[in-house]
Amino acid sequence: MKIGITCPYSWDVPGGVQQHIRDLAEALIDEGHEVSVISPADDDTPLPPYVIGAGRAVPVPYNGSVARLSFGFLSVSRVRRWIKEGGFDVLHVHEPEIPSLSLLACWVASGPIVATFHTAIPRSRVLLVTYPVVRTGLEKINGRIAVSEAARTTLVEHIGGDAVVIPNGVATRRYRKADPLPGWPGPGGAIGFLGRLEEPRKGLPVLLKAFEILGPQRPGLRLLIAGPAADPGEVLHRVPAGLRDRVVLLGQVSEEDKVRVLHSVDVFCSPNTGGESFGIVTAEAFQQVLRGGEAGELFATGDAADLARAAGRLLDDPARRAALSAAALAAVADYDWSVVARAVLSVYETVVLGSTQVAVTASGSEFP
């Protein structure tokens, strides 16, 4: 299949939508499809071979913050040319309600169009104001995907119509191999934590309490904590003074280092206390450890003593850890991007039925 994907935000700025598009495009290419992504990008940004730069995105206030977007007649003509030369079987636009390339692509294209909605749409009144202008574009969408139930709800409420929910995937490939951080996990063993330190739902205090129990019993055991904190000193102060030098705070880490952290510990602990829809950290940790007892050890929510017992058992049993890791690898396959990409593909296949290729319409043709 020849697939054209539009990205509304600058490729050189890190962001969830860009990451999603990158993972989806690569998963589709792995499946043997031909993919072309058009995205705003600075001219000197190195781009993957499947990405076409649509020129520099302009920083402009939108929705109370400054976003880097592509708009204007030059962007229109670039998108037109990309569609004309692409000969796509399907056009997949992301966030078409944002004033950028995706909206423009909807406007100038005809044929099978799939749209993915990533976030809530707060400015419904704006859409109403410019409705005649925007409607033309949005009405051409044949299939709609929401990445979460929340995104689907706002879509239904503000724009109307419905969408299928296909959540983000996890690029398991990226997690499979990494070098541990120097000196980790160490002979005494190590427990790891990933997430915002001060977010109560991530449950770091439970792990710190458990470490108070485990630490004195196991003199070499260390704790590796990665994630942003407003006041790291305060976090460290909750650990008894005698154990403090065995707790390492890394602060916020890059994507690559996140993987290295996972490979630097014997036991990864996700003490989440609940209230989250689908903790992405947990899904990522599958790769290393867990799945309801068969791919990971479970403990009573919020129960530090139970956590200490479960973690202690695992630290003493390398064979059990290896078995859990292997089971986790199999478990996480369900969340892999290749699976997500196949779900997206079946949406493509539905909308191309009985339709012609993607072509350009007269809209915007007056732009050179």
């Binding site: 302009v58 920083p59 402009v60 206030p61 939108y62 929705n63 109370g64 400054v66 977007l69 592509s70 708009f71 204007g72 007649f73 030059l74 962007s75 229109v76 004033p99 950028s100 390339l101 909206l103 423009l104 406007w107 400015r123 009144r125 704006v126 859409l127 104001v129 410019t130 005649p132 202008v133 925007v134 033309t136 574009g137 915007g364 007056e366 732009f367 050179p368």
Partner: protein, 181 residues
């Protein structure tokens, strides 16, 4: 004796007239602040309505339209402070107007020249009205700060007027970053 009384009465009269003149001046300045503020509000309103007219005119692509409409919407009592929302509209207009060959791209479209000129005039009026408003605010604050005015509380219960600061230039300043952002 008589001359002393005459001098005292004359002095009291002079002081009374002077103080009431000073109080009247502060009062007049406050009234001018109110007028200047009303004028500023009117120009801001006019600017946002012509910007909305441009957004919905069909002259622009949908992304630009949505961007401008979003910025206009922000100035109409959103949760963002007024000065920031109006500055956002300025920046959105500037981003649109400063595209290379923006004008040429609209050449020959019906009503385009008039509408663009209207937006520019409205934006310039905001610049003027804000300048005049801040001038009279400065004069009023200076008059209120004088020792006599402070000791005798000549400004009564009226609170000191605030300056209105915002980004109101449609042209990117040469010293600033591209587009002033």
């Amino acid at each position: 004796m008589i001359t002393d009384i005459v001098i005292i009465v004359a002095a009291a009269l002079f002081i009374g007239v002077y103080v009431s003149w000073r109080a009247g001046r502060i009062d007049r300045l406050h009234a001018r602040v109110d007028m200047a503020r009303a004028a500023l509000d009117a120009t801001l309103l006019r600017r946002s309505s012509v910007a909305l007219e441009l957004a919905t005119s069909g002259l622009l692509d949908p992304a630009t339209s949505l961007l401008l409409a979003g910025a206009v919407h922000g100035t109409r009592g959103g949760d963002r402070p007024r000065d920031l929302a109006e500055s956002d509209l300025t920046r959105a207009l500037r981003a649109v107007f400063s595209q290379p060959d923006f004008r040429a791209s609209l050449n020959g479209k019906e009503g385009a020249d008039e509408l663009l000129a209207e937006v520019e005039v409205a934006a310039h009026q905001v610049f003027l009205a804000r300048k005049f408003y801040n001038d009279v605010v400065a004069a009023t604050r200076e008059a209120r700060r004088r020792p006599l005015a402070r000791v005798l509380r000549l400004s009564g219960r009226a609170s000191a007027p605030e300056f209105f600061e915002m980004d109101d230039s449609l042209v990117a300043e040469s010293s600033g970053a591209p587009l002033g952002l």
